[in-house]
């Protein structure tokens, strides 16, 4: 296979990587709040951003994806924009936040996926800003010098103080252990999915180690080594902390670097589902296509028209002699036409059943 760099994608990826680095520099107040211990994570994250933007840009150039992307941009400049925006927000909460569409596929499957998704999202929300130096914590100077006062801890975002809490309080316990909570969620989710993948014959037949099992193993390794850090300093007086820190860093960086290439890319792709919903919603408003065979509505006319363009771009030409298209037929109509053609071929051959 000949490998060639996609210039457009490369440009996008470089621009986003440079913007990220600039935001790290200025967001951490010229590296004043940047934690050098996290430098390896930063490299991993910037590489992940580079890879994700590169792959996403290549992906958007494929004819079917480009068509959806173009239609999405049109909707931004549409007067129904706000109606679609309200729908988008609602759909985002239901289908991205709660992954509603997975629940009908199986309850335990939904629970497992929700726990993994929520745990990972929480971890991303905490670790990315920490790695970038956008969030840092300090002791309140007024309370730290007076041994009698209640010790307050301050959280800063982009160098601005956003809130403070008492050390030893419930909030402090929750905040300091937030990554542990996300680890537990991911571990439970991973175990539910591993059980499915190791016991269901359909999955066993079609899954691959690198595509389906390794991502679970990696998430488990990240979560366990992450919990190991807390376990080490809470219960083992820091024993094996270095080992835990290094193995955690290695697994996390592997995860970050792998996001653009493997299963984890679906996290980036998934919001396109919302675009597909809005596309259908807009299409219904514009009018439905009626199957010439069944006489019933079966899809939006915009979808069928766009598909005719996309299939031609991809080298398929379903245009019929009369200028219409085979794609004007509904799936049921297409099946019937095939069977009718078979019947016609039999009739032309004398009409008898052949064996």
């Amino acid at each position: 296979m000949v490998f060639s760099l996609n210039k457009k994608a490369l440009t996008n990826a470089i621009v986003v990587s440079l913007i990220t680095i600039a935001l790290v520099f200025y967001g951490s107040r010229k590296l004043q709040n940047f934690d050098p211990a996290l430098i390896a994570y930063l490299f991993g994250t910037v590489f992940a951003f580079f890879g994700v933007v590169y792959r996403y840009s290549v992906w958007l150039q494929r004819p079917p994806t480009r068509m959806y992307f173009r239609r999405s941009l049109e909707l931004i400049y549409n007067r129904k924009f706000f109606s679609h925006l309200v729908f988008f927000i609602k759909d985002f909460i239901l289908n991205i936040g709660f992954q509603k569409f997975i629940y009908p596929r199986g309850r335990s499957r939904w629970i497992g996926h929700f726990l993994m998704a929520f745990g990972c999202t929480l971890a991303f929300a905490i670790t990315f800003p920490l790695t970038f130096g956008w969030i840092h914590f300090t002791m309140n100077p007024a309370t730290s010098i007076d041994p009698e006062s209640i010790r307050l801890y301050e959280a800063h975002f982009f160098g601005f103080k956003i809130f403070e809490f008492e050390l030893g309080s419930f909030i402090a316990f929750t905040v300091f252990h937030a990554l542990n909570w996300s680890s537990w969620m991911v571990i439970i989710g991973v175990l539910i999915f591993m059980r499915r993948r190791l016991t269901q014959p359909g999955l066993i037949a079609t899954q691959s180690f690198e595509g389906d099992l390794l991502p679970l193993v990696l998430l488990l390794a990240i979560s366990i080594t992450g919990l190991g850090l807390t376990y080490s300093y809470e219960f083992m007086k820091g024993f094996a902390y270095d080992f835990m820190a290094v193995t955690h860093a290695i697994t996390v960086i592997m995860f970050l670097i792998w996001i653009p290439f493997g299963k984890f890319f679906h996290i980036i792709q998934r919001p396109a589902q919302l675009g597909a919903h809005i596309y259908k919603r807009e299409g219904i408003k514009r009018g439905m296509a009626v199957c010439p065979h069944t006489g019933k509505e079966f899809a939006t006319q915009m979808h069928i028209d766009d598909l005719k363009v996309v299939t031609k771009e991809l080298g398929f030409d379903f245009t019929l002699e009369d200028g219409t298209s085979h794609l004007d037929l509904s799936p049921e109509g297409k099946r019937s036409r095939l069977a009718m053609a078979h019947l016609k071929a039999r009739l032309e051959n004398g009409g008898k059943l052949f064996g």
Binding site: R62, P64, M67, G202, A276, H326, E332, A339, M340, F354
Partner: protein, 189 residues
Amino acid sequence: MPVTNYKTNQEFFVDMQRCIGCKACEMACAECETNGHESMIHVNYIDRAVTIQTTVQVCMHCDDPACANVCPADAISKDEFGVVHTANTARCIGCSNCVMACPFGVPKKNEAYDLMMKCNMCYDRTSAGKKPMCATVCPTQALYYGTREEMAMMRPNSSPVNNFIFGNEKVSTKVNIMMPKGATELRVD
């Protein structure tokens, strides 16, 4: 994919004139583990107003599958045996491009799952050297899975055809449709 025992000398043969509409294949299809126990096969009346003839449609597993080409999410793949697999559940965004682009009208969109699903030739069985569920239960052998030699012996007046003409497009498939002896293609419209 894991190591398989897929028998490359075995092929799928569909003979529409033999379909009696019993729907045994529909029930059997739901036993397929790779479908998540959803029936994927289609049994239709051809044209109910003029004939009681029914027809059966499995995925034809095209050489250059339109469904996979039009998928904006790269969710559909073809393996080394030519089996076109159902949508990858993690990737499919439920846009229905494949449902509308398939010239044979095969993929189904499960609205509740927001997912496209289709026949993948009972990959849990065929990858283990077994026949697809539908072909094992069809009482009239409208659906048959076996070798080309077996088929030639059983149906001397028929020819398996895997080239289909849809307007300006010629589609070649892994699955064969039985046609009168000597036919090489089926012109659909």
